[in-house]
């Protein structure tokens, strides 16, 4: 009986949060493909990743100090998981007319400087960020390929310590991938973090 009540409570909580959060993808949702310009001027889609088991989509940007704290950790994720079938795809959604540091040219510069081993895409229309429901940088959506479709398995923070990579206790994205690779459910599947709000175009 106790089990049933806790399950009911969990369902109620999920139902409430589903109604109180804003639009965008939730865990379990199937995502639509995008086609965005990479720093090498070529267009990139999820469909290009024929052999991937999933994709680590990271909304990030040049200027945000919080995103900067995670730059090298995003690079590490790609190094560690690309070979395991989960490459990183970074997307910058900010309007450069509001933050010059986030211009396409500056994205190219940063990626070159840092030696990004993954695409760094410019979401010029901001439609992809809106579709996902991304609100800040960095903001991770971990996708798993199931029967040819990409399904959201985890949303949120990379880990539990933005300031100090060495003091991290929970590596949320890594744990999620480990669980997926072991055919286990992903828990937790949603972790909130602080970040810089996406700089939306002024309408």
């Amino acid at each position: 009986m106790k089990k049933i009540t806790s399950i009911l409570a969990a369902v109620a909580i999920i139902a409430v949060s589903a109604f109180t959060t804003e639009g965008g993808y939730k865990v379990g949702d199937k995502v639509a493909d995008f086609k965005l310009k990479n720093i090498d001027d070529k267009m990139v889609s999820m469909a290009d990743y024929k052999d991937a088991k999933g994709i680590i989509v990271v909304f990030t940007c040049n200027h945000c100090p919080f995103a900067k704290k995670y730059e090298s950790r995003i690079m590490d994720l790609d190094k560690k998981y690309k070979s395991k079938g989960f490459p990183v795809v970074a997307i910058s959604p900010n309007d450069p007319s509001l933050v010059a540091e986030d211009s396409f040219e500056n994205m190219q510069k940063l990626a070159k400087e840092k030696g990004y081993s993954f695409p760094y895409l410019f979401d010029e229309t901001q439609n992809t960020a809106k579709e996902y429901g991304a609100t800040k940088t960095p903001h991770v959506y971990l996708l798993k390929k199931e029967n040819g479709a990409y399904i959201v398995k985890y949303i949120g923070a990379i880990d539990d310590n933005a300031d100090d990579g060495a003091a991290v206790k929970e590596k949320y994205v890594e744990n999620a991938i480990t669980n997926i690779l072991a055919n286990k459910p992903v828990t937790p599947d949603n972790i909130k973090a602080i970040g810089c709000g996406i700089k939306w175009k002024k309408s």
Binding site: T21, D163, A193, I194, G197
Partner: protein, 162 residues
Amino acid sequence: MKILLNIGLLSCLLSFVCLSKKVEVVNYTQLQKQAESKTNDTLYVVNFWATWCKPCVQEMPFFEEAASKFSSQKVKIIYVSLNSLKELPAVEKHIEAKNIQNHVFLLNAGNPNDWVDKIDKTWSGSIPATIMYKGGKKVFFKEGEFTQEEINSVITNKNQNK
């Protein structure tokens, strides 16, 4: 040790700056207790910001202006910095340089996932974010920045609702 503390306190009392510009470091429980204890009819406007957050820094003068505009009414502006503890000197320098008059807390936050939802379920964690309390109850929440007109009008509106 005690002498040191007294000297610190004394120099603090002597210097007006120290009293008006001090940043109080709190954890989430302490912050929550502060919020819960304010059950009077004052409207508390709590703004989450950080020195590294450009739109936050841009909107701070609007909150300062609102504080003076509503100074004869029961409205209190409180800033909660989400800078890390090691950035405390930068926070102090910032409020000094920008002459911020209203109270500033620094939330020594731990894992934001533990408290972001408790402040507001719809908050994704991006800043700026502003929450208003009255009579110990949450009466307003917004993730995103304000213009001067917007903040004035929300305060006017929430302050009228008894």
